[in-house]
């Protein structure tokens, strides 16, 4: 079985390619980031007291420190990294949410084997799936706006970080964000 060695050089190299305009390398980064983000998240949650809300921003930052050669640290790399991380956070959360939402839609979370404790915690997985579906529709006619949502909402990025990652001004991010929220809100209440 392969495991994924994650030498900083590898991710850094991919980031440089991404800066150079090669979007295809995002796919190569996904496995590293997926694992790393989840691992860091779990470690943070273990240390924190119960009820603590995870700061996705801090998580992405820690992953960046770990995965990227810090000699190559610059705002552009960091912004790209954050952009990719947001994309991956979206995937992580949706994978999980879809699993839960499926169970809910069936109307029954089944007790399975005797040795399995039945854990039911309140979550809004279904809502998240709906948001994602609407966001996918938005992507078809306004990619930049959809990206803003991905970074702000899924990636936990600030307006400034989003602006850096997308290479646009902060007011633009604010406008796009406001409209995207309005549109998504309407889409979801109409559904």
């Amino acid at each position: 079985m392969d495991s994924h060695p994650s030498p900083p050089g590898k991710v850094t190299g991919l980031l440089l390619e991404l800066s150079g305009g090669n979007r295809a390398v995002v796919d190569e980064m996904i496995p590293f980031l997926y694992q790393e983000l989840k691992r860091i998240a779990a470690a943070q949650l273990r240390q924190e007291r119960p009820g603590h809300t995870l700061q996705v921003t801090a998580l992405v930052h820690e992953a960046y420190l770990k995965l990227v050669d810090q000699r190559q640290d610059n705002w552009r790399n960091r912004a790209h990294f954050s952009g990719v991380a947001a994309q991956i956070m979206r995937r992580i959360l949706l994978d999980y949410a879809k699993g839960r939402a499926r169970g809910k839609r069936g109307g029954d979370i089944r007790k399975t084997s005797l040795d399995e404790a039945l854990v039911v915690s309140y979550d809004r997985a279904f809502e998240l799936v709906e948001i994602d579906e609407a966001l996918q529709r938005l992507e078809t006619f306004d990619q930049r706006q959809a990206k803003v949502v991905e970074m702000r909402f899924f990636g936990g990025l600030s307006v400034q970080e989003t602006a850096e990652a997308l290479g646009v001004s902060e007011p633009t991010v604010k406008r796009e964000w406001a409209m995207a929220r309005a549109w998504l809100r309407r889409e979801i209440s109409a559904a």
């Binding site: 691992r39 109307g107 089944r110 005797l114 399995e116 979550d123 997985a125 309005a182």
Partner: protein, 792 residues
């Protein structure tokens, strides 16, 4: 939405958004210039923008658990076998299930079940290797295929299975709002898959809605697929059942809502177990609820509910109008499949499906609702612990009914009712004799109760027989009852009361009834059959009790009659079988060198030959009949034994070789059957002994080695079986003896040492066992002798 339209909306929206809220409306009205639709669109967006709550939190807060579960995170993107894991699709007590894609260009999708660390990996992998061919060979449209399996680098077992996208069958049916008939047809496909697997000797063991996914094809009817066939068995530990308490039930993969009583008790799992689970799934499909409602999740309580209560009929659980459709046949079908006693369930998934088909066709179903008698039997089983009390209750109850039956019999007006009661009493006797007795048979200290049960049953039958003389059916029941009682009293082949005198008396009575009936109607084959059986049973009691000479005449009678029956009814397999057993018993009494016999070697050989040809006839007509195939080989071995006893080494060798050929073919047909392999090992060893007797030492050694290899394979397949360990060590000893005969002392020494290791291991498990002590001692003596000879 076209991008152009969107751009237009966006332009107006964003301009308006920059303005103070009070001025926006006027701006929008002006900017849209009479395009009402555009204006409505922008205005509704501006309205929504005021809802500040929306998307204000982080997405991660919507699913608090998403980032918390470390168990599976490292596996996404990981490569397992030829596959790369894409995402998790399920999680259970035994591990997690992932969606995976082939890492090469084929892009095939699969589901990977990755088991938790810390499970019995070695056992699972060993069992998987053993069963891989069978499981991979399951090829049915309703069964998800097992593609491969193995262990990850850190030793966690995994299975790769066909990926099925669909919903659990009950969810599917509910979401589509399927009617009862559609549900039944869907379920029949599941039965077909289970039947197919059973024919390939694979039991599922964990059938539940979550393992039956229906792919939602648009338009056409859904196709159910069963997942995880045979996986449960691979996961089940090899621990013998006595030592598995309920507390360890969690080690066995199963789902309480759909698990059968024998399963939660840790008893052997058979195809009947799957039939039960199918019944439970059907229950869920029809009633909309699982059959049992466990108030508590404590294993002890769950076990009690499953083993001691019957589910309510589905019609009492479902709401109207569905309940009306379930009442009657469907209640009966579901409850028959879910009988707690495996013998009372449908004999196969196919039979269950066939009854459903009858119901769909509007024909009468074969399952019978529970009758009074039937319930009486259940009552007995339910209360088997307080068996003595139960017996007394039953006896007084029946006595009252008998009296009532008599009186009613007199009154002509009540004739029908009387007949019914007459039959009830009769069936009660039957219940006593069969169910009641069987239920208490293995209880310690139940002997007096068994006696009481058997005597009472007989008393009722005799009473009824006097009341209804000439009732042939009743007489048959009597004959059957006496045979049965004889078995209880002293049939050496089953657990008995050790009363061989009583058994002889009962068998004698059965014999007398049958003889009378045959004199009255010599053509009645069923009576002939009872007669022959009684002769065979009497012979079996007499042979050890009074010697072979007393038994032989009865065996000869049995043989003669079975032969007549078999010749009258060409397809009568049972008669053929029984004839073969009678011939074998006759041969044993005449001249089996291993038993007390009459010294009539020729007679014994003739009898064995007859048995052999009978078995061969059955095997030719029914190639799948393993018992008869093996019977042919077994008779070859017995003939060989007789010949060896006479010193006819060549003839003995010939028959032993013929036996090995038969067993080899049987093994080739069914490579995993341990009994067949054991017989092959036995016959191969006998070939070796004949060769040794003929002075062909190297050839004998080769055969002994072959036999030893078979023993080793059997031992490895079942490492906890001490018997097979012992047999393997013995075979090593034999090989060592021959090696030292050929002068290869070093080789002999090595084998003796290996044998000693096993014998010592067996001894340490049971240090006071004198036989094991002796084995160790004799092997050590052989080693010492060889070492001394070497030293010279």
């Amino acid at each position: 939405m076209t991008p152009e339209r969107w751009r237009h909306i966006k332009q107006i929206f964003q301009a308006a958004f920059e303005l103070p809220p009070a001025e926006r409306s006027a701006y929008v009205q002006q900017a849209c210039a009479g395009d009402g639709e555009l204006r409505a669109e922008v205005e509704s967006l501006l309205l929504s923008v005021e809802e500040e709550e929306f998307l204000s939190g982080a997405a991660a807060a919507y699913v608090p658990g998403a980032l918390a579960d470390e168990a599976w995170d490292r596996n996404i993107g990981r490569r397992i076998g030829a596959y790369r894991i894409v995402r998790q699709i399920g999680e259970g007590g035994m591990g997690a299930v992932y969606l995976a894609e082939r890492a090469d260009e084929f892009q095939q999708r699969a589901a990977i079940k990755l088991l938790r660390a810390g499970m019995d990996s070695r056992g699972i992998v060993t069992r998987f290797r053993r069963e891989r061919q069978i499981l991979a060979g399951l090829d049915h449209p309703n069964i998800a295929r097992l593609l491969e399996g193995g262990t990850t680098e850190e030793g966690r077992p995994y299975f790769v299975m066909e990926y099925v996208e669909g919903e659990p069958i009950d969810v599917y049916a509910a979401r589509r709002g399927l009617g009862i008939k559609e549900r039944l047809r869907l379920f029949q496909q599941v039965c077909a898959a289970v039947q197919y697997a059973h024919q390939n000797l694979v039991v599922h063991r964990d059938i539940k809605p979550g393992n039956i996914l229906v792919a939602g094809t648009s338009g056409g009817p859904g196709v159910p697929k069963l997942l995880d066939f045979g996986i449960a068995k691979l996961l089940a530990s090899d621990v013998p059942r006595e030592t598995i308490g309920l507390t360890q039930a969690g080690l066995r993969p199963m789902t309480p809502e759909y698990a059968s009583p024998e399963q939660v008790r840790g008893e052997p799992v058979t195809t009947a177990t799957d039939v039960y689970s199918l019944g439970a799934v059907l229950y869920q499909l029809l009633a909309g609820k699982a059959p049992h409602d466990f108030q508590s999740s404590s294993p002890a309580k769950v076990e009690r509910v499953i083993c001691e209560t019957d589910p309510r009929p589905p019609s009492q659980v479902a709401g109207e109008p569905v309940a009306r459709q379930l009442r009657g046949d469907l209640d009966t079908i579901v409850l028959k499949a879910m009988q707690r006693d495996p013998r009372r369930r449908y004999g196969s998934a196919e039979q269950l499906s066939a009854d459903i088909q009858r119901r769909l066709d509007g024909r009468p179903i074969q399952a019978r609702p529970q009758t009074l008698v039937y319930r009486a039997g259940r009552f007995v089983r339910r209360n088997r612990v307080s068996v003595a009390t139960a017996a007394l209750v039953m006896v007084s109850l029946t006595a009252g009914m008998t009296a009532a039956a008599w009186q009613a019999h007199i009154a002509r007006a009540q004739r029908l009712r009387a007949e019914k009661r007459f039959n009830d009493v009769r069936q009660l006797a039957h219940t006593f004799l069969f169910d009641f007795h069987d239920a208490i048979q293995n209880l310690p200290g139940a002997t007096p109760a068994r006696r009481l049960v058997v005597d009472k049953a007989l008393e009722y039958l005799n009473g009824l027989a006097q009341e209804a003389t000439g009732d042939q059916a009743l007489e048959r029941e009597l004959a059957e009852a006496y045979l049965r009682i004889g078995d209880v009293e002293g049939n050496p082949r089953v657990s008995n009361l050790g009363d061989s005198a009583g058994a002889l008396d009962s068998y004698g009575r059965a014999l007398a009834i049958a003889e009378r009936a045959v004199r009255r109607d010599p053509q009645a084959l069923d009576w002939q059959r009872y007669l022959a059986r009684a002769h065979l049973d009497v012979g079996d009691i007499l042979a050890p009790r009074s010697g072979p000479a007393a038994a032989v005449p009865h065996y000869r009678q049995a043989v003669r009659i079975f032969q007549t029956i078999a010749s009258h009814v060409a397809q009568d397999l049972t008669a053929q079988f029984e004839m073969c057993s009678a011939y074998e018993s006759l041969g044993d009494a005449l001249g089996n060198p291993g038993l007390p016999n009459l010294g009539d070697a020729q007679g014994a050989e003739d009898a064995y030959e007859k048995a052999r040809s009978g078995e061969a006839t059955i095997a030719a007509a029914h190639p799948d009949n393993l018992r008869s195939r093996r019977g042919v080989g077994a008779m070859d071995m017995k003939i060989g034994d007789v010949e060896m006893g006479l010193g006819q080494v060549d003839a003995g060798l010939h028959h032993y070789q013929s036996a090995t050929q038969v067993f080899e073919m049987a093994v080739a047909r069914d490579p995993l059957n341990p009994t067949t392999r054991l017989l092959l090992g036995l016959a191969t060893g006998k070939v070796g002994s004949a060769l040794e007797a003929a002075g062909h030492t190297p050839a004998a050694l080769a055969q002994y080695r072959k036999a030893s290899d078979i023993q080793r394979a059997l031992m490895e397949a079942d490492p906890r079986n001490e018997q097979s360990k012992n047999s393997y060590a013995l075979s090593l000893q034999t090989c060592a003896r021959l090696l030292s005969k050929t002068g290869d002392r070093a080789g002999a020494l090595a084998l003796y040492r290996e044998a000693l290791g096993i014998f010592q291991q067996l001894l340490s498990a049971d240090p006071k066992n004198p036989r094991r002590q002796a084995r160790c001692a004799e092997t050590m003596a052989a080693i010492r002798a060889l070492a001394a000879a070497n030293g010279k």
